[in-house]
């Protein structure tokens, strides 16, 4: 049995070969080459595989570091919004509080509830964590820092985004807990009702930019105008949808702690629970990143390097999420669904009309 050809891989994941301007390719490639030449092995397939593995690890580390900073930022900002301090004991200004929490979760017992479905209960964890990490694989972070740059990047990102609800409903069922079950149902219903307006909004961006490729969308915005200006309605719809998609207050109905103790996560304990929490932040990061890329001009900006602009914008959007969380109460599940189907769907269609109009008569507005 031989490994598949490079071309077979690249048709899905976009071009990686010879992409020397991409640090997430060039650095792992040189490391892999060094390792293999040290071992006197000359196998291009192995080189490719090793490059991929090292690139994955680097990406994982980058995302994880960001997520940890994100959690810290959220706790600090939330503290200030709420007239308190947030973490301040562990490490400088409490920065290592997350690590302390993670360690605490590590030493907790991992509980499998009685009469729970072990396979469903545990496999869910893998699916949720893996699928959420995978989103970042298709989201470029700078013109010279991306994992893949496929032509269908935008569509792929949302396809991966939509995997989680299946796992969640399995988790809710497998926990053998009524709160989990209700949480799983809610999660699925909410995802379903928000995917539609969100994707229609995304489609309006695609109509204007004429491509599904993130880099080209950003380049289009750089040469014309950020899409938040012509598609402001779409921006608001997308903001609400993405908050619902990543299940944050005010749309955190699947794990509303006052109603369903912790929703579908109720029965997960210890490190499993910690991983779920971490995953929700990975999804927040991915959501904010996608929002930045398709509406806020991506990594374009003056003076500073593109990767820095990207992170600045992502953290700004995330601060917006935190701000909303600090200010708004939770919406009831039927109201969430009503909002999705009755308000956001028509609005997104209006936004689509605007996009089509701008596409046809865009010359007037230099679009």
């Amino acid at each position: 049995m031989s490994l598949p050809s490079w071309e077979a891989w690249t048709c899905v994941w976009g071009s990686r070969i010879g992409d020397t301007l991409n640090y997430l390719y060039s650095i792992p490639h040189s490391i892999a080459t060094a390792i293999l030449s040290f071992l006197h092995i000359n196998l291009p397939q192995l080189n490719y595989l090793l490059t991929w593995v090292i690139a994955s690890i680097i990406l994982l580390v980058v995302v994880m570091v960001n997520v940890i900073i994100l959690i810290y930022v959220e706790r600090k900002e939330l503290g200030r919004f709420m007239d308190r301090r947030g973490p301040f004991v562990v490490g400088p200004a409490g920065f290592f509080q997350n690590f302390a929490d993670a360690f605490k979760f590590l030493i907790k017992e991992m509980i499998l509830p009685e009469n729970a479905d072990g396979l469903g209960f545990n496999s869910t964890l893998v699916i949720v964590v893996a699928s959420s990490m995978l989103i970042m694989a298709v989201v470029p972070q700078a013109p010279d820092f991306y994992y893949t740059n496929t032509d269908l990047g935008l569509l792929l990102a949302f396809a991966i985004f939509a995997i989680e609800p299946f796992a969640v409903v399995i988790a809710g069922w497998a926990s053998n807990n009524k709160y989990s079950l209700l949480g799983g149902f809610r999660s699925t219903a909410q995802m379903m009702s928000y995917e539609v307006p969100m994707l229609i909004t995304v489609l309006s961006v695609v109509v204007l930019a004429g491509t599904f490729n993130f880099t080209q969308i950003v380049n289009y915005q750089a040469s014309h105008v950020w899409f938040v200006v012509p598609l402001i309605i779409g921006f608001i719809v997308f903001l609400i949808s993405i908050v619902a998609e990543i299940e944050r207050i005010p749309f955190d109905t699947p794990d509303a702690e006052a109603e369903l103790v912790h929703g579908w996560m109720t029965e997960y304990a210890g490190i499993k629970f910690a991983l779920f929490q971490l995953t929700s932040y990975v999804r927040s990061f991915a959501g904010a990143a996608i929002m930045v890329l398709i509406f806020l001009g991506g990594w374009t900006g003056p003076i500073l390097p593109p990767i820095l602009w990207f992170y600045i914008k992502v953290y700004a959007v995330f601060t917006l999420f935190v701000w909303m969380r600090a200010s708004l109460p939770r919406v009831r599940i039927d109201q969430v669904l009503n909002l999705g189907w009755r308000s956001l769907l028509p609005l997104s269609l209006v936004n689509m009309l605007i996009a089509a109009f701008l596409k046809i008569y865009g010359g007037v507005f230099h679009l």
Partner: protein, 362 residues
Amino acid sequence: MAMAEMWINMGPQHPFTHGLWTLKVKVDGETIVDAEPIIGYLHRGFEKLCENRNYPQIIPICDRLCYVASMSWDHVYVSAVENTFDIKVPPRGEYIRVIALEIQRIASHLIWLASFMTDIGNLTAFLYAMREREMFIDLLQALCGARMTYNYPRIGGVSQDMPKSFPQQCLKTVDFFEKRLKEYDYLIEESEVFRIRSQGVGYLRPSDAINLGITGPALRGSGVPVDLRKTDPYSAYPDFDFEMAVEKDCDVYARYRVRMNEMHESCNIIRQALKKIPPGPVLGKAPRHFPRGEGYARTEDPRGEAFFYIQADGTDRPYRVKIRSPIFVTVSAAPAILRGYKVADVPSIMGSLDMCLGESDR
């Protein structure tokens, strides 16, 4: 078409319960078909405890009936004893009691606001309310030396006069607090999300409310103007000019507004009391020996009608003490209010009724 129905046990360890109790709800999908409250986890045999302690010793355990409104429970017990044995309280003592009671009412309503806000998911308002409550707890601490369990009223008055700096501190706090109340209006009341969570939720018909024995802000939120401070005045309340807060919407939002308006009125009462307070002693002569007799007192607790019935047999201990707790009755009415709403409405409806299980289970 009904879906498969199931019972959900909410509590005793559930974030919405605010105390130890269980609400078994029968749901059809997410809609509540039936509910059954179960209480008794905190039952300490309070009335039996009272039968085994002498009259002054009961005051500190009355604090434990509901430790977010200790002063009210102390006061209702003490006034029941005073009614039973015809003990006079000097006017200054009555005024200080009213001041303490109103501070306690504000503190209790703030705790309610905090817990209600966590129920509907707004953690910021929770922390703001707790922050403001701290100021009033400081006031009570200056008055009697304890932060939660005051043991301040005595049979025949209060245990000590207020400190010299207290009136000034109190006025400052009240003025500052009214500014903060405006902030709450912006943060909570004028937010559309709060409106859709509270308006049209938890309807309680006025006739039902009266028949089910619900009292206090929940009753006034249903448009029934009954406030015992007005309708059955006690202590020094007839001396003050204030209004009872009544709303006609009968829903969660109405109860919210009733409590917010009551906080304003409490501020008014505190100001008037500090202005009018007469000089003199604070503790009248209380007998050491209590004759036979029976008597009762009812007051407007922050949660409703609090009632103490005392039967004395001539010894130093009461023969029978009966406590009517407003929340005990309110819990019993929970199924009637909850039927037809969503599971997600349970926290907001029960939160709007201001649960306190210490006084309910006794």
